[in-house]
Assembly symmetry: C2
Homo-oligomer: 304 residues x 2
C-alpha cells in the first residue's frame, strides 16, 4: 500500500525576525533554518512520518536546492524515482520571514524554471500499489491526467485546493476528497457562512469537501451534512505548512478506514503539532506524537 503524491516541492529558508523589517532597512534575524516545503511534498512527508509508504512525483532543477529537496524526501523514506531533475533549471525556493512577535509570515519565492511534469512521465511504475493519489493541482496537465488515470484504476484521489487555478474546477469534479484552503472558497465568492459553504461545496462535484480555516478549525461537507471541527489551541511558533500537514493526517485517517469526523480531528491534531516548529516539514509529527496529543486531551483515537 503506497500513497502517491503529485505536485510541488520546494526548498525553504526560514528566518525569525523580531518584527517584519520596514523597507530599506537592515534586520538581524535568528539563525536561518532550511528545509523542504511545497504543498504535495509536505503532505507526503507527513504521511511517511505517520508510518505509511509514499511515492512522490514532481520536478526539481539540477541546482543545489534540487539536490537538497530530493535528499530530504529520500531521507523520510519516500520513493523519489518520479521526482525528475530538469537539466539547467532552477528549483522552487522560498525565503520565509516569521515574526517572533505578532506571528506575521512574509514569503519571497522564486518560480521553478523546469518544465512541468508531462502526463507521459507518469507511467506504470508510478501507479504500482497505489492506494491513494494526493495532488495539489499546481501542474495542471499532469494533475488532470493523474486524477483521470487514478479513477480509471479505482484509486481514490484527494485534491489540495490552495486557491482557484486553471484546471481546479475539473479536478474538484473528478476527485473524491477536495480539501481546500480558505482562499479557495474566498476565490469562489464565499461569504464565510456555513450555509453558503454547503451550497458551494455541493456544487463542486467532489463527494467530500473540507475547508481549513486556520485557528477557526475546519468545515467538512459530506452526504448532505456539514461538520465543524474546531482547531486545537496551541502556542503557535509558525503556521508554514500547517495546511499541508493537515492533508497528510487526513490521508492517514482515510487509509486507516476511520470515520470522517475522527479523520478530520486527527488531521487537526497533526496540523496543530506542526505549528510548534519553524517551517513546513520539520514540524510534521510522528504517529505516537499525534496519539499522545489526542489522548492527553481525552480524545479517543480509532485503532491504527
Amino acid at each position: 500500500m503506497v500513497v502517491t503524491g503529485l505536485g510541488q516541492c520546494c526548498w525553504d529558508t526560514l528566518a525569525e525576525v523580531e518584527e517584519y523589517p520596514s523597507p530599506d532597512s537592515k534586520a538581524e534575524s535568528g539563525q536561518w533554518v532550511e528545509q523542504g516545503g511545497g504543498p504535495a511534498a509536505t503532505a507526503l512527508v507527513t504521511v511517511a512520518r505517520l508510518g505509511l509508504q509514499c511515492r512522490f512525483a514532481g520536478v526539481v532543477g539540477d541546482d543545489a536546492a534540487g539536490a537538497l529537496i530530493r535528499h530530504a524526501l529520500h531521507a523520510e523514506g519516500i520513493d523519489v524515482t518520479h521526482l525528475l531533475t530538469r537539466p539547467g533549471a532552477a528549483s522552487q525556493r522560498a525565503f520565509i520571514m516569521v515574526e517572533r512577535t505578532g506571528g506575521r509570515r512574509t514569503i519571497v519565492w522564486q518560480r521553478p524554471t523546469g518544465a512541468h511534469l508531462a502526463p507521459a512521465e507518469l507511467e506504470e511504475p508510478f501507479w504500482s500499489g497505489s492506494a491513494f493519489l494526493h495532488l495539489d493541482g499546481l501542474m495542471e496537465e499532469a494533475s488532470l491526467h493523474g486524477v483521470r488515470e487514478a479513477r480509471r484504476r479505482g484509486i481514490p484521489v484527494m485534491v489540495d485546493a490552495g486557491r482557484m487555478r486553471p484546471g481546479m474546477r475539473e479536478l474538484a469534479k473528478l476527485c473524491d476528497y477536495l480539501v481546500a484552503a480558505e482562499q479557495f472558497f474566498l476565490d469562489l465568492g464565499w461569504d464565510g457562512s456555513e450555509e453558503q459553504f454547503a451550497r458551494l461545496a455541493d456544487g463542486l462535484g467532489a463527494p467530500t469537501v473540507t475547508v481549513t480555516l486556520g485557528d477557526r478549525g475546519s468545515l467538512t461537507r459530506h452526504d448532505g451534512t456539514t461538520c465543524h471541527v474546531p482547531a486545537f489551541p496551541v502556542t503557535t511558533l509558525d503556521t508554514t505548512g500547517a495546511g499541508d500537514v493537515f492533508h497528510g493526517g487526513y490521508l492517514f485517517g482515510l487509509l486507516k478506514g476511520w470515520p470522517l469526523r475522527e479523520t478530520v480531528i486527527f488531521a487537526s491534531a497533526a496540523a496543530a503539532l506542526s505549528c510548534l516548529h519553524l517551517g513546513a516539514q520539520r514540524g510534521a509529527p510522528r504517529l505516537d506524537e499525534v496519539i499522545r496529543f489526542l489522548v492527553d486531551r481525552g480524545i479517543p483515537v480509532p485503532a491504527v
Copy 2:
C-alpha cells in the same frame, strides 16, 4: 606586492521584487542571485579584479555558505590561507530584497556564530609582502591588533568605517586612510555641512578622511583642505556593495601612487559601475572597464 584584507565576509542571496512585500503577504521574485559579500571581502575582490594580488583574513563556518564564500574568493585569485573555518559554526548570510521600481533594498541577515579572528591567528605569513592593510573593523580585537602590527611594519592602513562601533575611535586614530559611510559621520552627530565635516574629520586622527554619500558623491579631507567629488550618474540597478567597491578602487589608486583626487575619482567610477549589477561582488569592475568608463567621459586616467 600584496593587499591584505581583514574583516567580514558573507554569502548573499539577492531577490529582485516588483515592490517590497507587505507583511503577511507572498511575493514572487525574479530568479535569485547568490554571491559573496561583506565589506572587507568585497573591497578585496575589487582590488583583485583591478589586477593586484590580495590576501584575505576572516572567519567562516563549516556550512555550505562558508564553502561558497571561500570558493568565490579563491576563484578571484585571492589567497584565502587566512580565511579560517570554525567547526560547527554558521557563516554570515544575508537575504537582500531589491525593488525593481523604487530601488529600495531590504536586508535580513544572520550573524555568524564562529569565534572572531584572534590576534594570535594573524601570524607572520599574513604580513609577508603586504603593501597595504584594509580592514572593516568588524572584528574589534583582531582589527586593533592588525592596525598596530601594520604600523610597526610600516604598512599603510585603510579603515572602512561603516558606522560607529567599539574600537572604531582607536582604529580611526591609528590608520592612514579612514574611508567612512555617511552613517559613521551621522553617528558622530554630523549635520551634513562641509564645515562640520572638516572639523569632525580633523578630530579623528587619520591624516586622510573620506566620507561616501551615495549619489551625492564623496568628501575627502586631507592636509587642511576638503575636496568634493561628485558621483557619476548611472542607471542604478542595485547599490549593494557600492561602498565596498569604492574602497577597492581607492586602494588601487593609492597603490599606484596616484594623487588623492584622481584616486577618489577612480574609486567613484568603480562604485558607479558596480551599481549596474545585482549584488556586491558581481558588479565589481575590471580595470579596463573603469578606464573605458572614465575615458568615455573625457576624464584622464593616470598611468597604471
